[in-house]
Amino acid sequence: MSAPSPKENEQTVVFALSPQSAAPNVVPAAVADLDLWDVYRAMLRVRRFEELAGQHYAAGKVGGFLHLAIGEEAVCVGASLVLAPHDHLLTHYRGHGWALMRGLDSGRCMAELFGKATGVSGGRGGSMHFADAQRRMWGGYAIVGGHLTLATGLAWAAHVQEPGTIVCAVFGEGASNIGEFHEAANLAATWSLPILFLCENNGFGMGTRSERAAAVPDVARRAAAYGMPAWQVDGMDVADVVAGMREACAFVRSGEGPAILEAHTYRFRGHSMADPELYRDKQEVEAMKSRDPLLRVVAALREIDGARVDEITAEVEAEMQAAVAFAEESPFPAVSSLEDGIVARPDGLSRRSAR
């Protein structure tokens, strides 16, 4: 993890990525309190959810676009361990793992993919639009960068109503090239809003390598343009993510303004299920798989207690199979409900005042 750059410094300095550790199970001292058993369970839940989603897409049970985060689990898991339950969260459209980590029920998430009435968004949203307002998970957003200005508004509301609450806005590095990112970053910094802009940099905007789309591919370096501090972490290493998140969130929570945390990660699967992956070598993917965040943790844990690993694995498998069964068994939304929830009332009166 790189050190933060204090805001008082004229120049925001972003340090290079930490060296990749040869040994997969090295936990930095800063996160010695990290419970790797919890981490294993969390990452496996995300991995298995994604794998099953992919299988059921192939089987025709899941439709539309399906973007899997296999390989990127350390980011949503590590970051979510640091966020507080009262913090606000918005994500891009590769957000199943974020939703699971936020506490959304795996069965209701799977049901959303199946388009069922019991889905987290009532079958209206699908893969790209998981939300749970009770848990302040304000949704996955499918317009690249579109949610970043929404985050400024949520942060404004938090700043006014509950100081100490922060907004975590998750986006891909591809979104840093769209105007919305820059409008949001400028507004957030100008108004000193409590937002952590968390970039999951997986190296590709769909099939275009970052270097071919961005003059400055390191998103963290762009923070300097808005006077924000930035952290870069190894997004394949959950401990590095946790350590970086702790520092970045502490800064944002202090009320001094927004920050960027950039996690370099890699997706092992295509951009979506329709991706033939012509733009990268299989060898590159295989090489990155040697840094699989899940396998790194499980390798370490097997040396400690292999039976417990198996136990957790079985528990997660049972949960995810139950999630699929729940999705399968749930009813589709009634067509008679089609026009529900478009507006609260056609005459614009509030539901309360009209009662």
């Binding site: 606000h88 889905g119 987290v120 968004s121 009532g122 079958g123 209206r124 949203g125 639009h129 939300a131 749970d132 307002a133 304000w138 949704g139 957003y141 317009i143 579109g146 949610h147 970043l148 200005t149 929404l150 985050a151 400024t152 508004g153 949520l154 942060a155 404004w156 509301a157 938090a158 006014v160 109503q161 105007g179 919305e180 409008e183 949001a184 400028n186 507004l187 100008t190 108004w191 529900d340 929830g341 478009i342 507006v343 609260a344 009332r345 056609p346 005459d347 614009g348 009166l349 509030s350 539901r351 005042s353």
Partner: protein, 334 residues
Amino acid sequence: MAAVAAPAAARTTTVRDAIRDTLRSEMQRDSRVVLLGEDIGAYGGSYAVTRGLVDEFGPDRVRDTPIAESAIVGAAVGAAMGGLRPVAELMTTNFALVAIDQIVNHAAKLRHMFGDQFGAPVVIRMVNGWGQLAATHSQSFDAWFAHVPGLHVVAPSSPADAAGLLRNAMRGEDPVIFIEHSRQYSQKGAAPADADHLVPFGSARIVRPGRDVTLVAYSYCVPMAEAAAERLASSHGIDAEVLDLRSLRPLDRDALVASVRRTHRVVCVEESWRSFGVGAEVSATLQELAFDELDAPVARVAAREVPMPYSKPLEAACLPAIDDIVGAALGQIS
């Protein structure tokens, strides 16, 4: 239902003051109400609508923004999700185009797309108008917004309706596109003193009852239609009804049908381009719901289909005029 609205306890004011007074009274009533927009604070608003409010409520509740409309609308929507009641001002409707993604893809869709868990109670005020401002600064996109499920789209023509529609918008639970017109701000009229005066959406207003032809209008075209009705009466002995739609989404279809049952002839007036516009929707609605009541095809008076030119005579030739409305009404009856 349409109603002849004439509030009892009233005072004379302007559209500008009615909007400002409503913003003020709602800000006093509800501490969650915040304003944001370009130059709405220290500058006082480019059309002086918000003048003085920053002194009264402070810069935290009356927030000047960067010139970044997508951020303005996005921040307003996000703030609404987070529990505030934002009213965003877009300096002109033209600039809504750079925020159209936030309006259409987020403000309008959040409630439905996330299974009715939350909405975006945000008011987006914007100003139509013209005045030798040329092609990019003389537009209105009322029909674009009215096309989108999830939005309310309203456009007052009087101080009373400006107050009542805006208050309804600010107390509601969904996004409202509130369309003002640069030429109507100084227009005077009676406005109710009632601090709870509401005009529910989807209720058109009969501005002038009549028997021979209905002139359907909204926003700045309403006073034009009234002037045309007066000329039709004085010069041609024709008794025209003027119906102010007030709300484009939802559209008061019942009021349209009721009026055509009385008059059997309809002219729809709008300042936007004619094709695929409000007049087209009104016309289609009436042929669907009241085909047998129509004694003539619905006539449309609208802007000529060119990007607005700068030169004054060319600009005037683009815009609907009172003569055009009178001519269209006469064409219905002859």
